[in-house]
Symmetry: C2
Subunit: 334 residues, 2 copies
DNA sequence: CTGTTAGCGCTTTCAA
DNA sequence: TTGAAAGCGCTAACAG
């Protein structure tokens, strides 16, 4: 049962193949009669154009490849979902793949997508700052980098981690906190640097002395050992009154530590998290967080990519999206 | 900067295009010398075969399409991640797409994938029992249905909801619970029916009377209103001592209700959940759950699909995967 | 406005 | 063992 091809449509409609093609794509000069006739035949026969042949000939696949570092991360899941929707509205299919935070997988996926001639790539890179290894691979395909700087070679949409962290800090400081612990993944990517800078700047702004002992760098695996938080909880001298957690995994580790130390949130200690999740929302007490604006992110990414795909000549644009504070129950006023 | 094609490789290696092709695919009769020479040239030139052209000619795309009903659901995220890994080991690329629980999107995605000539499809269908609308679309492409019965037309891998629910019930009953509330999405798909049947069978098995008032059907949107749980919590007469929650969303609703009713888990009321998640694990107290065995699921899906793709003649196989109980802190012994 | 023709990059007969 | 040539399904020149 071979699929019905444009050949069949043309034969049944009694026109040539090219006329059939034109009639269906409404391109070039075709009479209204022919269009109507051909389209009627096409639907009657259940004609489904072969996207592969079309891509091969026209050098346009009407597909974009989306690479995220970890598709099991619900945040990426939600982003992908929104992205799929907005791109499909513009007639692009999405092919999603997960690099699992592995650089060589990432490069392979870029090659895979290029060999399938995607019209564009959306790339949420691995936990590395350097994207040099990608730039050369990507060359020639419109690409938007997500949450990483593409220099002037690639477009990018970034989350404003500096602003987000400042919002969190100012919120805590306004509530009277002066001993604020910062728990963060230790990898040296730009977002982390931005956050640490924001942390320090806000301290200065509020004339609070900086205590390096309050900063806790987790290992790169994103798995945060609760012992680190325990140590902070029981540190000699002035203990922290608030924990600023950079990421859901770390938040979970901190909550576990607080729980096993039998402290109460927010009575004994306040907690705020950067990066919102179901978990923050559903936890008791619910956790005040800074949320990524998925809609804005996805909107910026797709519109930037679309304009780059439509007109190669426009340089790669970029955008920055702010985070917003979602106030819940986990922070006390001192 | 056009990509380097087989043409270039052949020219540089001083052989014909067909020889170059054969040398790279190690197919047919080619001398070892030629193979070595051609492959050396290919790597030197950085030749990347165009997957589209190859698929067009050979009618094999070496890609499989994965359709899930909601990619932002972390469970699906994890499944997809595992699936990607095992399929890529067999040389297949994965194209993931999300139907967002919409039947027409689902059908469109099947068409999209077929028009791109994927070699196989993995389908986690929408919340409907009938898959008739899919069978006709899918015809001709090896397909594995996930968590739904494909009849004898499509292969399938199912989760044993009956067994899972029985494990949960027996666990609660062994702990002395006799008033067990069941909170479930109300849609009439098979998994739900299986679970309700298991609930009732276990009651009978333990000679416990069935009280329909203890069953609470949520609306189909998966958003569970805490009021429903509140009502159960404050019902006149014998209140339930345990809540069996079918799904993370419902679990969250129940926990919120319990919290706002100021009852303690597990002291005042026990909670068990079918379907495990970060949330169950990280919640205080952590929630005893029945977990899907992602590895087993993914392994069965990919091996079934692979064998179907390799040999079209083998009928569509099927498998059933059991759930396992993860005992945590949320259930008390009465 | 429509048909004929030439490929897109590759694999695969079929001869040599 | 190799090369020439056909053709996958479609679009895009170019004639008519």
């Amino acid at each position: 049962m071979a699929a019905v091809s444009i050949h069949d449509v043309a034969r049944v409609a009694g026109v040539s193949i090219s006329t059939a093609s034109r009639a269906m794509n409404r391109a070039g000069r075709v009479s209204e009669d022919t269009v109507k006739n051909v389209q009627e035949v096409a639907t009657r026969l259940g004609y489904q154009p072969n996207a592969i042949a079309r891509a091969m000939r026209s050098k346009q696949s009407h597909a974009v490849g989306v690479i995220v570092s970890d598709i099991s991360n619900p945040f990426y899941g939600r982003l992908v979902k929104t992205l799929e929707r907005s791109l499909s509205e513009s007639g692009y299919a999405c092919f999603v793949a997960s690099s699992n935070n592995d650089i060589s997988t990432e490069v392979n996926l870029v090659r895979l997508f290029k060999s399938r001639e995607v019209d564009g790539i959306i790339l949420g890179p691995c936990q590395t700052d350097s994207i040099a290894h990608l730039v050369s691979e990507i060359k020639g395909t419109p690409t938007i980098l997500f949450d990483r700087d593409g220099g002037n070679a690639l477009g990018s949409v970034k989350v404003d981690h500096y602003q987000g962290t400042c919002s969190a800090m100012r919120y805590l400081i306004a509530k009277g906190h002066r001993r604020i612990a910062l728990l963060t993944p230790g990898s040296q990517i730009q977002p982390i640097k931005d956050r640490i800078r924001a942390y320090q700047d806000c301290l200065v702004e509020a004339s609070i002395g900086f205590d390096p002992g309050l900063i806790c760098l987790a290992d790169s695996s994103m798995n945060f050992p609760p012992e680190r938080a325990q140590a902070l909880l029981n540190m000699p001298g002035d203990r922290p009154t608030a924990f600023l957690c950079l990421g859901t995994k770390i938040l979970a580790g901190v909550l576990a530590a607080i729980r096993s130390a039998r402290r109460a949130i927010p009575k004994d200690v306040s907690v705020i998290s950067i990066g919102d999740s179901d978990f923050s929302e559903l936890h008791s007490p619910s956790i005040t967080s800074l949320a990524w604006d998925i809609k804005a992110l996805s909107g910026d990414i797709s519109s930037l990519l679309l304009s780059q795909m439509r007109d190669e000549s426009t340089g790669p644009g970029s955008a920055v999206v702010e985070m917003r504070l979602i106030e819940r129950e986990s922070c006390a006023t001192l």
